[in-house]
Structure formats: C-alpha cells, structure tokens
C-alpha cells in the first residue's frame, strides 16, 4: 500500500515544469521598474512591451523544450576528457546552435552588428528563465556573449571581423580565461606570459589557466579565450596585465581560411559537486611555444577592460543564483502542496486524514524564507539591469546616478543571492524530507549547483573587501548618497500606504544602523586597515539585507496599492503573497541587521588576533 502511494503520487514527471514565475517577472518589469520607460531612448525605440513579452515567451519555450528536459541528464552525464578533448552532453550542440541562430548571443548589440538592441533588463529577465530551467546549459551562450562583448568593445576592427560573427552564430564558444594555479582571487599574480612576435599585435602566449568554464568542448567548432597574460618586460602587478584573444584553433591565412591547432591543450576536466553539465577545463597554453594570442586594445590595460565587463557578469552570477533558488522554491512548493504528513497542532484527531505539509507553520516558514530571498533578490538584480541600460543610453545626472548605483551595489547583487541561495536551496531539500536527499527529485541538484556562486566571479570575501574598501568611499561617498536618497524615497512613499507605516520605520532604523556602522568602520580605516576590513564580509551581509529590505518595501508598496483593484482571485493571491513575503523578510531577515551591527561595532577583534598556530 505504502509503496503504491509513493510511486503513484510522489514521482511526478511534470514536477519540474513550474521552475519560475512569469507573473513575478512581469510584476518586476512593468509594475515595479516600468521597464517600458527604456523605449523612450533612441537605442531602444523599436521595442515595446509586446516585444519584451514575446522575448520572454520565446525564452520560456526554448527552456521548456530544450533546456529543462536535459537538467537531470546533464548532471548525471558529466563532461569527459576523451583523447585530449572534452565531450559534453550531445544535446548541447543543438542548444548552442539554437541560441546562435535565434540571435540570443548578440541580442544586446547594435543593429549594425547584427544585434537587436535589446535592453539589458529584458535580456537578464530572459537569461533568468534559461538559468532556472538548466543552469549548466545556459552558461555556454552566456559566456560567448561576454567574451564577444569584450572584443567588440575594445578590440580592433580586424579582431571584431575575424571572431565575432562566428561567436554570434554559436559556432565558436567564448570564454573568460583569468584564473591560474597561483592566481585566483589575486589576479595581479598571474604568470601567463606574452612575448611580441614580428607581427604587430600578435604575441606568443605561454602559461596555464585553471577552472575555465567551457574552456574546451565538442558542442562548438572552436573556443575563443579572452585571456589575461603579462607582456614580458611590462610593469609588475595588475598594471602589467594585458588582454588577448587566444583561439583554440587559429585561422591561417590561405584561400580557404583553414583552422590549425593553436597549442592550447586541455590538461584536464574538473569533476565538480554541481553545475556538472558545464565543462570546466584546465588549459596548458603554449607548451610547444606555438600559441599565438592577439592583443585586445592597448597593452597593460587588460584587467581594466575585464573589470568594465565585470559588473554585468557579476549581476549575471547573482541572477544565476536566484534562478537556481527559484527553481528549488517551486519544486519544494509543489511537493509541500501534495505531501500529506502529520496533523496540525491545532487539530490532532488521528481519525482525520493527515494534513498536507504546506499547512505546517514550520514548512510555511521555509517556503516564505525561500520566496522572500529569491523574489527580493530578483527585484534588485532586475533593477541593476535597468541601471545598466540607463548607464548605456541616458545622459547627465540620470546616467551618472545609474552608473554609481550599479557600481556600488554590484558586490551585493552578486554576493547576497549567491550566499543566500545556498541556504534557500537547503531549505528546499529540507521541505522534501528524505525525498529531498534522494536523486528522485531535483532539489538536491539545485542545492549542489547553488554552491558555486559564492566562489566564482570573485569570492564573497573579495566582494566584501570591494564594497567596504572601495565602493563605499568612491567619489567621496556619492554612490552611497544616491542610494540613501533612493531608500528614503521608498520609505516616504511606503509611509503613506496603509499597513506599511511600520515597515517604513523599520527600514529607516536599519538604514540608520547601517550608516552608523559604516561611519564607525571608516573611522578605524586610517589607523588600522586590517581591523577596518576584517569583517568586510559581515558588512556586506548587513548591507545586503538592508538593500533587499528596501526592494521588499518597494514591492509591498506596489502590491498594497494594486490589491484593492485586483478582481481575479489569482491576482489577489499574487499581491497577498507579495505582502506576506515582505512581512516575512522584515520579521525574520531585517532583524539580523541589529546583531550584525553589534558585531561590527564591537572592539573585540578576535579574527585579527587569532594566530595560525592556535587553530
């Protein structure tokens, strides 16, 4: 009997289908951000809400048809190194081709470049759908977009003409090749070298790169590495780093434009705890002194170029984390609505059927935790997309404001969801109980996949240092001033909405606490930088919670105003859900700001004083 129930009810083949909420994306884009405002700008004038919607629908259809069906398979059939070449899941060929042919890889770029001048906000929303469907698969085209963007922004016409068309079509894969065995967080220590050849702009590259996502695979014909290396004789440290296009196979100039091997060998493929469908390669570059790299832009400006693209990549990582968290949330929600177990504390009558677990307060807590984190973080990430767009197309103060806010909040947008979605996916596993720990359900995979995000694109520790050590004080604190203005605007607006007055006061209190803590830390900085930055990660957390509370207050304001006019039950439920998630976030998460402040204002510097020998 028991077995009969389990197999017939709980192995739901369609379970994976609701992996995100289209309604929530629409809420963010149109009700919260008014993304249609972008179409006032010349660059985006050919777009409208209908084109945004069609793009998101297309993303959903591709996800449902091509990405989601491979989610589990790609996890189980990891990439393998066979005869020096990494083989990925055979379905990836069609996926990469699809992204290329359908114009997703260069959608952001101008019409002259074959793009569609798509707003970054909408691109990020579409990417979120792909990532929620199958994170590993979504990474292949995403990386090519980033790499080709570097070439088109900083490269010569020749480099652009040679490489970007085939990257846009999906025939060639792009990568970001930064990390080396001795240089992960500390890129100034890279040792890959570049020696000029007789041909201007062409260098002989030698070194090794590790953990390179999509660094080699058989779903594309060629891999184009955007690689950091040091030109021999250049300045030490970050100032001596240059950026090169290093193709896996290089073009030889003959009538047929043939490709020959460019001496980039794959030494290994990493076996990882999650995100297994994407190949992560260890590359030996120029072992036979026959690897040519082509300088992008000017010598020694490589890291600068890379960092100009980093904001978008980092917002992208935050979005990945939220996407995985969202997929886990919906999987656990569906399970909770179907699994009968135990009885409510208020009604323990054993003759009655068991209650669905979604009715237990503790399970509701775990669901609200996930909902409040993923939906709160998603709205910040889409807001970052809008700032990127405004930084691109607006002028004057609007542009400056958008640039500074984006710059300031990028460490938060990257790290807050990355850290928190490790916890939310854990809550998703917990909701499924024993089933969550088995491979019969996707939540254990989401839990494993989420774990990469606090590590790559700069660890959380590095982002903490970036926020407190650099971003807070940049331009004499102007970015922080802008953020405070934004937050106070939201607080003032919320005060006039019935039911939100307390929430507005609570956010104001937290902002004040954050400001006091910042002032305290900045006062330490001149005397002792080590003390100043010792708890930068906790400061990042405090800043993150406050920022997401701000997003929730915005969401709650819109929801509270929309609720009385919502006639359909589904709409009423949607807005009620928003208000409850906002309440949860303030009651359970925002309160953490006070304990973090206690720690950050303390004069006990235990982590600095601890000695290695005492561990």
């Amino acid at each position: 009997m028991a077995l009969f129930c389990i197999t017939s009810i709980y192995k739901l083949p369609n379970m994976a289908h609701s992996f995100y909420s289209k309604r929530d994306l629409q809420f963010n884009l149109y009700e919260l951000l008014n993304a249609e405002q972008l179409t006032q700008y010349g660059y985006y004038q050919d777009h409208d809400r209908e084109s945004f919607e069609m793009i998101l629908d297309a993303a959903e259809q591709i996800s449902e048809k091509m990405l989601r069906p491979l989610l589990t398979e790609m996890d189980r059939q990891e990439p393998q190194l066979v005869d020096g070449k990494i083989r990925v899941h055979e379905g990836m060929k069609a996926i990469v081709k699809r992204f290329g042919e359908d114009g997703w890889i260069n959608a952001l770029f101008s019409y002259e470049e074959g793009g569609q001048q798509l707003p970054i906000t909408v691109q990020n929303a579409a990417a979120f759908i792909f990532q929620a469907a199958n994170y590993s698969a979504s990474v292949f085209p995403f990386l090519t977009t980033g790499a080709s963007n570097l070439i088109r922004t900083f490269g010569s016409k020749q480099l652009i003409d040679t490489y970007t068309p085939l990257m846009y079509s999906g025939a060639w894969q792009g990568t970001m090749a930064l990390t080396e065995p001795d240089a992960g967080s500390s890129l100034s220590d890279i040792s890959t070298s570049a020696e000029p050849t007789d041909e201007e702009g062409t260098y002989r590259i030698k070194g090794q790169k590790i953990y390179i996502s999509c660094g080699d695979h058989d779903a594309c014909e060629n891999v184009i590495h955007l690689m950091l290396a040091k030109i021999k004789g250049g300045p030490a440290g970050t100032k001596g780093i240059s950026l090169f296009v290093v193709p896996q196979k290089r073009l030889i100039v003959d009538a047929n434009q043939n490709l020959i091997d460019n001496d980039v060998q794959t030494a290994g493929v990493y076996h990882k705890m999650g995100y297994k469908g994407a190949p992560i390669a260890h590359l030996m570059v120029g072992s036979n002194d026959n690897c040519l790299g082509y300088l992008v832009g000017e010598p020694h400006k490589g890291l600068n170029y890379m960092f100009q693209m980093m904001n978008e990549a980092r917002v992208g990582v935050g979005t990945n984390a939220v996407a995985i968290g969202t997929a886990a949330y919906y999987a656990s929600l569906q399970y909770a609505k179907e699994r009968p177990q135990g009885r409510l504390i208020s009604d323990k009558d054993p003759s009655k059927p068991q209650s669905l677990i979604v009715r237990h307060a503790d399970v509701k807590r775990m669901l609200l935790f996930q909902k409040s984190i993923v939906e709160g973080a998603l709205s910040l990430l889409l807001q970052c997309g809008l700032w990127s767009d405004l930084a691109h197309v607006a002028e004057g103060e609007t542009k400056e404001r958008a640039e500074l806010l984006l710059d300031l909040l990028t460490p938060i947008a990257k790290s807050y969801p990355s850290e928190m979605c490790c916890q939310t996916t854990s809550a998703a596993v917990q909701i499924l109980g024993g089933a969550g720990y088995t491979t019969d359900f996707p939540v254990e995979q989401f839990y494993r996949e989420a774990r990469i995000h606090p590590i790559h694109e700069g660890t959380t520790g590095i982002h903490g240092l970036d926020l407190l050590g650099r971003k807070i004080v940049m331009k004499n604190g102007k970015a922080v001033q802008y953020l405070m203005q934004e937050m106070y605007q939201t607080i003032v607006a919320a005060r006039s909405v019935s039911g939100l007055e307390n929430k507005a006061n609570e956010l104001e209190e937290s902002v004040t606490t954050l400001s006091k803590t910042t002032a305290h830390l900045l006062s330490i900085a001149p005397q002792n930088t080590e003390l100043f930055l010792a708890d930068a990660t906790l400061y990042l957390e405090m800043f993150g919670i406050t920022t997401i509370a701000w997003q929730w207050l915005k969401q709650a304001t819109v929801a509270a105003q929309a609720l009385p006019n919502a006639t359909a039950e589904a709409e009423q439920n949607f807005y009620q859900g928003k208000l409850m998630a906002a309440r949860y976030f303030f009651e359970y998460e925002l309160v953490k700001v006070q304990s973090l402040a206690t720690r950050l204002l303390s004069h006990d510097h235990v982590t600095v004083e601890m000695q290695t020998a005492w561990f």
Partner: protein
C-alpha cells in the same frame, strides 16, 4: 502559394477560469493569453510549406484588439501580414462567416486553422468555412504536403489514419504532429512590428445563438488510495460513492 492561417486568442492552458457579469463573461484579469495550440501547429506547418514552396502567409484573427499580441507573435514566427476582424468572436457560425468573407477577398490556396479552439472547443469552424466557400474541408489533419496543385495529407480517424489527396483550394483543421511549434527568433520578433496588420470591421451575420451563462465544472473530488489487490473495496466505492456502477 497563398496561405491563410486562422488563429484564436485563448487563455493559457494553466489559466484559472472565472466569470463575471452574472456568469456571462470571462474574467480576463490576470489571465495570460496564447495562440490556440492547434492553430499554432497550423501556423508552424504553413511556415514550413512557405519555406519549401515560396508564397505568402496571412494570419487572420477574428477578435478584439487585446488579441494583437498573439497576431504579432504569429508574424514573428513567419507570417507576412495579418488581418484582424474587429469584433468579439461570439459563436462558431459568426467566426466562420468572418473568415469566409476575408478568404473570398484574398483568394487563398490553402486555409489552415486548428482542429478546434481550446476555449469553446466546438471544432466546427473549418467545416463551416469550407461550406461557405464551397471548397472541401478536412479535419483533424496531422500530416500535410503540397505537390503542385495537390495537397497530400493524413487525417486522424477512429483507430487509425486516413491518407488523402485533394486539389487546392482547401480548408484544413490541423493538429499535432503536423509540425513542431515554432519559437520566434529575435529578428522575427523585431520585424513583426513592421509587418502590415489590417484591422477590418466584421460583416453582418444573423445571430445563430445567444449566450445565457457559463458554469464551471464541479471541482475535482479528493483522491482515495486503494491497494492494488483490494478490488472489492474499489467496486464498493465505485458503486456507493462514485455511483458509476
């Protein structure tokens, strides 16, 4: 070859349906709309036929302005132009009359549509249009090729398939697996806006039926699990509770 593809603008299959105005109108608030799934198959096959044989695709929707998003999607998928007959698609006869009127004016070789809409599911419009135009109509068509002036197609019949040939022009009601649904690409989405969409007023049609009200089916009952070997209990429950025996 000139192809006319008729599409419906229908609530998404997962939409929660509720009625307003004394149960005489669908509450559209918060409902997501889609191209009727069977119409989408017809459109997909039309795009493939155009790729093979050249020609043009006109997409036609009998409906109000809120359906233009689906029309634009059809244009993004590959239709060349569109007609919207500006009215509420009140019943099958009315809709068929509007389609027949437009079809006459455009003299199409092939008129494709879904085998039925998924809101009212009457499944008769293709037959009515054929009759009104005095040309053959077939449904449900699950395979379709064109050879010169001849359509070669398969129709689903009770327990099997029927393979047929007929001369153009024709009206066909389509279903899977006639083609795979097409997903619009970026270029298609962006060019859809520049393709012509003609809005025309409906022709007068005598009212065939009036609507009194809608009701929803009774909610699904709770599931009872019965052990696979306990046939007696199952029969007893089918008699006493489900009352189907």
């Amino acid at each position: 070859m000139k192809i006319l593809v008729c599409i419906t603008n229908v609530p998404d299959t997962t939409a929660k349906i509720a009625f307003i105005d004394n149960d005489t109108k669908l509450n559209k608030a918060g409902v997501q709309y889609i191209i009727g799934p069977y119409d989408d198959y017809a459109l997909a096959r039309a795009v493939e036929l155009k790729e093979q044989h050249g020609g043009s695709i006109t997409v036609l929707n009998v409906g109000e302005a809120d359906g233009e998003q689906q029309i634009r999607k059809a244009l993004a998928i590959g239709a060349d132009d569109a007609i919207r007959v500006n009215c509420e698609p009140s019943d099958s006869y009315f809709v068929a009359a509007q389609i027949a009127h437009c079809a006459k004016e455009g003299s199409y070789d092939l008129i494709l549509m879904g085998r039925e809409s998924i809101d009212f599911n009457s499944g008769v419009v293709h037959g009515l249009v054929g009759e009104m135009l005095n040309i053959p109509s077939f449904s449900p068509v699950m395979k379709l090729d064109i050879d010169g002036n001849t359509a070669k197609f398969a129709r689903e019949i009770e327990g099997g398939k029927e393979y047929l040939e007929a001369s153009l022009p024709l009206v066909l009601g389509c279903q899977e697996p006639i083609a795979e649904w097409k997903i619009p690409n970026m270029r298609g989405i962006m060019t859809a806006r520049t393709k012509p969409l003609n809005v025309v007023e409906p022709v007068a049609v005598p009212e065939a039926a009036t609507l009194e009200k809608y009701t929803l089916p009774a909610p699904k009952g709770a599931v009872k699990m019965i052990a696979a070997d306990d046939v007696e209990s199952l029969i007893a429950l089918l008699k006493s509770e489900a009352k189907v025996l």
